[in-house]
């Protein structure tokens, strides 16, 4: 009787959690992205070092500027947001100011990321 647990990735993402939920999702994507990247990357380095075929190919994926834009987002966002989480976790008294914390976080993240993207893209397109 009854519909199965009424939730899917889609319905979950559509929940109007607002700013805090957005940064959570991005943090998760960032962490996941980096973890996968680091795994592949280690593998590639290992293969190159041992002269196994394919290492160079794997390396060329992330030499690609589009990929760099993505992975830089993952690293920078995850790092900044991770710092926010760590601070709030260790000082629960600051939690009532979490909205402000998120604003500050974006204020720090956006300019740095914008400059980085600009440089990466310019370098990427310029050759």
């Amino acid at each position: 009787m009854g519909l199965k647990r009424n939730v899917s990735l889609g319905t979950g993402l559509k929940y109007q959690g607002g700013g805090p939920m957005l940064v959570f999702v991005l943090h998760r994507i960032g962490g996941l992205g980096m973890a996968i990247f680091v795994t592949i990357h280690l593998l590639a380095s290992f293969m190159s070092a041992r002269g196994i075929e394919g290492g160079a190919f794997l390396n060329s994926i992330y030499e690609n500027w589009a990929f760099q834009v993505f992975i830089f987002f993952c690293a920078l966002f995850h790092a900044i947001n991770g710092l926010r989480i760590t601070i709030l976790d260790l000082w629960p008294r600051l939690i009532p100011y979490q909205r402000e914390a998120i604003w500050i976080e974006w204020a720090v993240f956006l300019p740095i990321y914008a400059i980085a993207v600009f440089i990466i893209v310019r370098a990427g397109l310029g050759g």
Partner: protein, 234 residues
């Protein structure tokens, strides 16, 4: 004003799956969404099913997803959500019929944190109350407000992932007792909430705090529990 009300419908005895039904009705700005549901049920479609009792936000019966976010239907006025209103059941629990979900997993999680006062020491010699200063009382005041409506737990992405996660409501209850100076089972409760699917599952998403109709600072309460886990001070 004319309100368009889109409601999630599912009748287990007829339908294979859910669908949405749209109703148009005349309403006042100060009408509660619950009033609208009552109107639809009274005049348009008697089969529409939902829970409600107190009608002023103190019993916790009618937590629903309204315009994509959890609210109590009786504490949400038309003027708060506008003329286009979508009403859906809570996420992460089985839908039994229309807007009614199976609350069992929610209450099961609640029961895991030993939600009752424990003090086996002898009573004060005069037989009167156990003393507690206003300051000690204030520490857990917020978390005594919980009405077990489940708006928080069903807004939490960790709970969507799996109902094994205790969820914010159970943690709020744990907080209410752990920080009560008269209670003597703090260590047992800490044990429960630090196990797998306990507080470590909370990723400070804040959906719970925003959904709580009693305006409990849930994430803060959970944060205090996390601190208690580290320092041992309650």
């Amino acid at each position: 004003m004319l309100v368009t009300l889109k409601i999630f419908r599912y009748n287990p005895e007829v339908d294979k799956t859910f669908h949405y039904e749209t109703y148009k009705l005349e309403a006042l700005e100060t009408d509660r969404v619950l009033d609208l549901l009552e109107m639809v049920k009274g005049h348009t479609d008697g089969t529409l099913s939902f829970r409600r009792s107190c009608a002023h936000g103190v019993c916790g019966s009618d937590a629903l997803r309204i315009n994509g976010r959890n609210h109590l239907a009786c504490k949400t006025l038309v003027r708060d959500v506008g003329a286009k209103i979508t009403v859906e059941p809570l996420l992460g629990l089985k839908v039994i019929k229309d807007l009614i979900v199976d609350m069992q997993p929610f209450f099961d999680n609640y029961k895991k944190v030993l939600p009752w006062f424990v003090n086996d020491s002898p009573l004060p010699a005069d037989g009167k109350e156990r003393l507690q200063s206003p300051e000690q009382r204030a520490i857990f005041d917020e978390t005594t407000k919980c009405i077990l409506c489940a708006a928080c737990t069903t807004s939490c992405p960790s709970f969507w992932g799996g109902e094994a996660y205790l969820g914010p409501a159970a943690l709020v209850t744990a907080h209410r007792f752990i920080f009560d100076s008269r209670d003597e089972a703090a260590d047992k409760r800490m044990h429960v909430i630090t196990e797998t699917d306990g507080i470590a599952r909370c990723h400070t998403v804040f959906n719970c705090t925003m959904a709580c109709p009693r305006e409990i600072e849930i994430t803060k309460a959970i944060g205090e529990l996390k601190m208690a886990m580290i320092t041992g001070k309650v």
